[in-house]
Amino acid sequence: MANEQTNLENVSREKYIDFRYVKVNNEIVLSLDEAGKTVDAIKRAEKVSHIIVTVFTYIFILLLALVVVFPFYWMIITSLKQNEEINGAVQTFFPTIVMWSNYVHVFQVFDFGTYMFNTIVVAIFSTLGTLLTTILAAFAFARLRFKGRDAVFAIFLMTMMIPGEMMVISNYITVASFGWIGEGQTIFDAYLSMIVPFWTSVFYIYLLRQNFKQIPNELYLAAKVDGKSDWSFLWKVMVPLASPTLISITILKFMGTWNSYVWPNLVTSKREYRLISNGLRSSAFVDIDAGITAYGYQMAATVLVTVPLFLLFIFFRKYIMKGVGRAGIKG
């Protein structure tokens, strides 16, 4: 036993310090506030400070969460209030009389159906076009090798830095020269001018390329053995494997159309051709009796515009947050 111990001692002295055999250095100074405390006391103090920090963290977070949620809450309750109550000296945090009739009125004044239809048509077709071009381009960038690929990709990435406002002016002129804007514009022209310029997105190409690059090369060889062409490999293997990213792109694109305001406002000549954001801001929600803007009606309309987005968010939370979050991950 003793022999063993000396053995150990030798080994430990040679290779590393074994604290069992090292005397505590007299020069070690404990910090002042820990002096004279037992281990239990220090642990307890740490626990208390931890609890305090946690409580403050929660207070901080909950307060800010309240600020974040408050506009939504206010939107909903204002949409259910009477106009007198909204403009009253004392603000109530719950409507005294719940006015569902605000919504009825809004449906009569605000042409929700038309705007909704336009928005959905534009969203569907611009998303389809974007998906198609994005998949093809991402496949070429990720899988194929040809001269000039990297140069083209670099140019594409550079265009992401250009503010969209630079493009709007000339795109407006381009679309006008296609005959889609101007006198005698039909609904079909309006759709085309809102859809075609948005059929490509460099950012989504970049996103999907990163995803395609992660798909192992063995799958491609296996598909070749099975007699698949590049084309069917893309659609039968790559696309299904990248479907989460594609779903994210679809949803983000849909949301983008739902929120687009500037371009539809520019290129459409008639109110009936516009999208939901334009309709919301251009409709006058006026109380006929008082002659002033009726916030109740206005808020009811904003609720109608916001709810579909919220539903989308609830059902596709995972994809939306992933799609947005991926933007920040360096590839």
């Binding site: 939107m75 070429a140 265009t159 000339s170 059929w199 007699g227 520019l266 979050g325 991950i329």
Partner: protein, 472 residues
């Protein structure tokens, strides 16, 4: 390797019908619109879109019809082996493949239903390999010594290529001109709607009185820039003061107030969110909510909250203080900045959180052993390790803040608060661009180029700084 024989599929049938119908609709619309116009317009190339549409329609119809033909051929081949509806196919032949679809589809559907019931088919309705080999002994996988050939069962769809076992190349390994085919749609769209506009806008910004409808202009000039900056007047004596006195300062205020505030706030929130245990997911979702809203709609909500009889005045006991309509410029900046911060925080939190989750826990354990304070941990560990994300956020949010527009429209429904003689006192640079787009295209282009240069300079500056400060 699994090989499935697809006998028949109703989906193919429906797909072909859909192709034909969609093509017909497109063709119809395109033709209708072409008929509407006078021939002169077509010649001048104004109606390219309609031509394209009609063409697309024709292509779709061709695809659909070809699909019918091909499906018919498949059916006949299947009928040979299956034998159940050979009569039908023989009766109608190639010319009537369209009619042959329906009975074949239905018969095979009934057949499949029965076979499914008997457990002969897998869930997805395809016969398994073993079953196929069992029911048709004449087709067998294996080595045929007589002909010195390997026999494998393959789908009738691409039986030509099914046996390729040599000459398989990795497309990634050689110079593949097909890449350009895949890129073609994007390159066309990008050059029409991205590259050309960039060049064209810069060009327009140097032209005098550009008319977008005709493309005419009165020579090249530099005065567009000096005019919008209020340095020179136009020939008729008009003087532009709004761009310098409102658009630029307002935008700069948006940038220098909202970017730091929202970034720091987002950083604190995400660090806090990352450290808590309970309700983390729910709170994370709540903080993400502003991202999934319509900017205009929430802007209107904020203008109600900040109304003179609104809840802010009630809560802070400042009755009838005017924030939105008729407000002073500097007062109206408060709700504007508040709204921008509110709406820009969720994206940042999401990015920061994903960055935080990637940080190795060992750093924090080491800090704990050294009993470093929380502030020190945040400043010395979290922020440096998060610096790539912070850089990304700073660049994107700077660019975003320079382009502020929707918030102004949502809050004020116009370029100003309707105070002080109706000046556009809340105008931003982008607002100025959109306002002048169709009436004074040259000035709008000049303003856009101005913005472009500023953003480029800013981004370049940030990249330069990041070389020293960002730890990858």
């Amino acid at each position: 390797m699994k090989r499935n024989i697809r006998i028949c599929s109703l989906i193919d049938l429906i797909k072909n019908i859909a192709y034909c119908v969609a093509g017909a609709v497109l063709l119809f619309i395109g033709a209708l619109r072409l008929m509407e116009e006078t021939p002169g317009e077509i010649e001048s190339g104004q109606k390219l879109g309609e031509f394209g549409l009609a063409f697309l329609g024709v292509i779709l119809i061709v695809i659909g019809l070809f699909g019918f033909y091909w499906l018919g051929a498949l059916k006949r081949e299947a009928a040979k082996t299956e034998g159940y509806d050979a009569d039908l196919v023989r009766k109608y032949g190639i010319l009537a493949t369209v009619f042959a679809q329906m009975p074949t589809g239905v018969v095979s559907l009934m057949d499949r239903a029965e076979r499914k019931k008997n457990g002969e088919l897998t869930k997805r309705g395809v016969a398994s390999n073993e079953l196929f080999a069992e029911t048709r002994p004449e087709y067998k996988e294996g080595y045929d010594a007589e002909n010195n050939a390997v026999i494998r069962l393959v789908s009738p769809r691409n039986n030509g290529k099914a046996y390729q076992t040599r000459g398989i190349e990795d497309i990634g390994s050689k110079n593949n001109w097909k890449g350009w085919l895949y890129l073609a749609p994007v390159i066309i769209l990008v050059s029409i709607f991205l590259i050309y506009p960039l060049v064209n806008t810069i060009f327009i910004s140097f032209t005098q009185d550009y008319l977008y409808a005709t493309g005419e202009f009165q020579g090249m000039t530099l005065t567009n820039f000096t005019y919008i900056l209020g340095l020179t007047n136009r020939a008729n004596g008009a003087h532009e003061s709004y761009f310098v006195s409102y658009a630029i300062p307002n935008t700069i205020i948006c940038v220098i107030v909202t970017v730091p505030v929202s970034t720091i706030l987002a950083l604190l929130i995400s660090v806090a969110l990352n450290s808590i245990k309970w309700f983390q997911k729910i709170l994370q979702t709540i903080f993400f909510l502003p991202y999934v809203t319509n900017g205009i709609a929430v802007g209107m909500v904020f203008s109600v909250i900040f109304a003179d009889k609104g809840v802010i005045n009630f809560l802070f006991n400042t009755p009838d203080k005017v924030w939105i309509y008729g407000a002073e410029r500097w007062t109206a900046m408060i709700p504007l900045c508040f709204y921008i911060v509110w709406s820009s925080i969720p994206f940042k939190i999401l990015i920061f959180l994903s960055g935080l989750q990637g940080i190795d826990k060992q750093y924090y354990q080491a800090a704990q052993i050294d009993s470093a304070s929380k502030a020190k941990v945040l400043w010395r560990i979290t922020v440096p390790l998060l610096s790539p994300q912070i850089l990304y956020i700073l660049i994107t949010s700077f660019i975003g803040a320079w382009k502020e527009y929707t918030a102004v429209v949502g809050l004020f429904n116009g370029p100003g608060t309707l105070g002080k003689a109706g000046d556009p006192n809340m105008e931003t640079i982008v607002f100025y661009i959109y306002e002048n787009l169709s009436t004074q295209t040259s000035y709008a282009a000049a303003a856009a180029v101005f913005l472009f240069v500023i953003i480029l300079l800013f981004t370049a500056l940030q990249f330069a700084v990041s070389k020293k400060r960002v730890h990858y």
